[in-house]
């Protein structure tokens, strides 16, 4: 009963957060959106009327003509429901409903690679690439981190341990994107090993695209791993050190099980819950960082899309990607919670 109730509470909180995020995003960009939409309508109506010369000839003086145009514009505004402000309950409800069913409308400027301006299509074209890049990087980071962390907790105070700890502190003080710039400078221009732009130059439907994508992915992955694994190793080390002091480990030591076996099998297994939880959390954390990292490497994913949308103020894309980013973020937090609740009975029995 405990776990179920715990999950329901967490799930409800997450849904509440999603709604609040949506509401906040809409209220931050809402007034801009209205102005842009109205300008679009005025432009559209004028274009239609000037194209059709017979309408203009039917009027005697320009004032009457202007009145006619204004009337047309007002009609259009009304049918689209733009006469009520964005914060009116019906429009707000309608916008939120549409976003909830993943109907984000059409982008103002940006298009997908296939030329569609449907926001949903654009986002779902970019998302797999972000997931690919950051999942790959996170998996590599966690493998290196766990092995290195276990190794240094095996011999506390050894050279490995000290180097790992120092590297963890130093590497996490550098911004990932700055290391990215340096990596591009060194490995794309000084030594031309990797391409500077991470967007593959061949079309997605050509053969060899996957290989090109992986080759272009190398530099960003190396950068993210380089910055990330030190902190991971340090974290794993600290968990392990805590566990190594527990009574059951001491008991195992007295039985005579070798220290190596204790570290890599008994202690590591017991450190799994917090490690898995942090794995889920760091995935969600890296999604936020994706915006800057992808901008540096020009990786064609969600982060770069978001950055491009912000720089041209493409509001439907901004709202859509904020929503999707939040959903991804919340899902990984939820998974982290779930794992934590599953592994650690103290969490669900609290209260």
């Amino acid at each position: 009963m405990g776990l179920k109730r715990y999950l329901v509470t967490r799930g409800l909180t997450m849904f509440g957060v999603l709604m609040i995020t949506l509401l906040l995003t809409i209220s931050l960009v809402g007034s801009n959106m209205d102005t842009i939409l109205k300008q679009g309508i005025i432009y559209q109506v004028r274009a239609e009327i000037t194209e059709n010369t017979t309408i203009a000839q039917g009027f005697n003086n320009p004032e009457e003509f202007e009145k006619f145009v204004q009337q047309k514009i007002d009609e259009r505004v009304e049918t689209l429901g733009l006469d009520t402000p964005w914060y009116s309950p019906q429009r707000l409800g309608y916008t939120m409903y549409k976003i909830l069913i993943l109907d984000f409308g059409n982008a103002t400027f940006l298009t997908s690679d296939s030329g569609s301006s449907n926001v949903g299509e654009i986002i779902f074209e970019k998302m797999p690439k972000t997931v690919l890049l950051f999942t790959t990087a996170t998996i590599i980071i966690s493998i290196i981190g766990i092995l290195l962390g276990a190794a240094s907790s095996n011999k506390i105070g050894s050279k490995t341990d000290r180097i790992t700890s120092t590297f963890a502190v130093i590497s996490s003080s550098f911004p990932v994107w700055w290391i990215g710039m340096l990596m591009i400078f060194v490995f794309a221009f000084v030594y031309q090993i990797f391409p500077a732009r991470a967007t593959p130059s061949i079309e997605p439907d050509e053969p060899g695209y996957i290989l090109a994508l992986l080759y272009h992915m190398a530099l960003p992955v190396i950068t993210i791993v380089l910055i990330g694994f030190g902190a991971w190793a340090y974290l794993v080390r600290n968990f392990m050190v805590g566990i190594m002091q527990e009574d059951f480990i001491t008991a195992k030591k007295t039985i005579g099980i070798s220290k190596k076996k204790i570290v890599y099998s008994h202690a590591l297994r017991n450190a799994a819950p917090p490690i898995v939880t942090i794995l889920a959390l760091s995935l969600s954390g890296s999604l936020g960082g994706a915006i800057i990292t992808e901008a540096v490497f020009d990786w064609p994913g969600m982060g770069r899309l978001y950055f491009e949308a912000i720089s041209v103020m493409d509001l439907p894309v901004i709202i859509g990607s904020t929503y999707i980013l939040t959903v991804l973020f919340l899902v990984s937090i939820f998974i982290a919670d779930l794992l934590y609740g599953y592994f650690d009975p103290r969490v669900r029995t609290a209260n």
Binding site: V169, S173, P175, S311, T322, L325
Partner: protein, 453 residues
């Protein structure tokens, strides 16, 4: 956790090498900030984005200390002030400006510009010549200041690319062994009959002859265009990077420290109150905490910067919104422990107000933890602000390290190999972060005995 006294913390801290290193770096940064604020006038910094201010600086030139490391000396960009002599002979009033330069580089300077502001009446004749180390004098230009009947202030620039200078110099060109058209600097700075640079003392002389009166030189300088300048070089927009980097130091410290102090204070009070009150209040406050915790910070910061304002002060506020949450959680659990102690119970029974119990009895106990959290959360604030600036969302009136990197990225500094534009800002960000991490970790180790071993 609560049994550590201030005295003990001080004693323990002085023993920690890492903590002392942090303090050492931090005091260095503070010293740099103080010197910067008092020595470099704020006006140079406010005009960071004003291209006119930087016109006499060279474009993307390497730091001048590079010359100490390489055998080939890159010509330094020099701004030379003149020595002014005035004399009078046979009713001719001569004002002579001499610009001396010791040229010791292995490449020709890219160009030179004479820039002067003069006050005069009537007509004045201008003659520019150069005396070379080998004693040869080259006539560069004879021209006149525009005639004026009234006293006038006149701004004049003479460029080495001027066609008259070129024409005058090319009459010498055969002496220098150039059989093709070359620029002015190549002729002036090369040996006779060999296409080689002549090193030594050059004196550029600008003579202004007046008939009735001396010309009054208000401002005058000669710019010898080179490819190396200053401590940190310059960027594509000719800005002196040393000034940007130096001014970035107090800004980064200000942003980092104010965000972390603000969020720690808010988080501490919020958490302690929530934990102390308990029950419904606690539940509601912690739900709200969960909501903020689950908001994706960076997308929101970007939207806030774009739609509301990118002013640095508001940005500090926005950063605080997202950084107090974790501290509130920890301080809540701490206050849950403290409130069960008997002296708190006693204070409650005595009828003391809640606010008094919180501020007098609970908060002081959390102070060591608070200081550690302040130090630990500074780097995140600095890197997040740098990240936002890097995306081009920074406050343009306060250029930070992140904005220097943004410009570097926009102008393709990595592609063109302008390492001096990319490396220093990042290192400064990291060093500043490290100083606080060191201090924070040292404090944390003292405050959290669990970490001690």
């Amino acid at each position: 956790m609560s049994s550590v006294s201030t005295h003990e913390i001080k004693k323990e801290f002085l023993k920690s090498k890492l903590g002392l290193t942090g303090v050492f770096i931090l005091s260095g940064l503070i010293l740099v900030s103080i010197i910067t604020i008092s020595v470099i006038p704020a006006s140079t910094f406010q005009e960071w984005n004003n291209p006119e201010k930087w016109i006499s600086y060279p474009k993307t030139s390497v730091p001048s200390w590079v010359n100490f490391l390489s055998s080939d000396k890159i010509p330094e960009h020099k701004i030379i002030n003149p020595k002014v002599f005035q004399s009078q002979e046979n009713g001719i009033f001569l004002t002579s400006q001499q610009f001396g330069v010791y040229f010791e580089y292995d490449d020709f300077p890219s160009d030179f510009i004479f820039e002067m502001k003069t006050k005069y009446i009537d007509s004045h004749l201008v003659q520019i010549k150069v005396i070379r180390p080998d004693g040869i004098t080259l006539e560069l230009l004879s021209t006149s200041l525009p005639h004026s009947d009234n006293e006038t202030i006149h701004n004049q620039r003479y460029f080495s690319t001027d066609s008259m200078i070129k024409k005058n110099l090319n009459t010498y060109k055969n002496d220098f062994g150039f059989d093709f058209q070359v620029g002015a600097t190549e002729i002036i700075f090369s040996e006779l009959y060999q296409n080689q640079i002549q090193k030594g003392n050059y004196i550029f002389i600008v003579d202004i002859y007046g008939i009735e009166k001396h010309v009054e030189v208000l401002e005058s300088k000669m710019i010898l265009g080179g490819k190396a300048y200053g401590l940190m070089g310059t960027d594509e927009l000719r800005r002196d990077l040393a000034i940007g980097l130096l001014w970035g130091t107090p800004l980064a410290l200000f942003i980092g420290i104010s965000v972390s102090i603000g969020s720690v204070v808010v988080g501490l009070i919020y958490g302690v109150y929530s934990g102390y009150k308990g029950k419904k209040t606690d539940e509601v406050m912690m739900r709200f905490n969960d909501v903020i915790y689950a908001l994706p910070a960076l997308p929101f910061l970007i939207i806030l910067a774009v739609t509301i304002s990118n002013s640095i002060f508001l940005m500090i506020g926005f950063l605080m919104i997202f950084s107090w949450v974790g501290i509130a959680k920890v301080s809540r659990s701490m206050s849950l422990q403290i409130k069960t102690r008997q002296y708190i119970e006693a204070a409650k029974i005595m009828g003391q107000k809640d606010s008094k119990i919180i501020f007098r009895h609970i908060l002081p106990q959390l102070l060591p933890y608070a200081f550690a959290s302040i130090a630990i959360s500074v780097p995140a604030a600095i890197t997040t602000e740098a990240g936002l600036s890097f995306l081009g969302l920074g406050d343009p009136s306060f250029p930070t390290w992140g904005q220097i990197l943004h410009d570097a990225n926009t102008y393709g500094a990595a592609a063109q190999g302008f390492w001096w534009w990319i490396v220093p800002p990042g290192i400064l960000i990291a060093i500043t972060g490290l100083a606080f991490v060191f201090i924070g970790n040292a404090l944390d180790a003292i405050v959290n005995p669990k970490l001690k071993r």
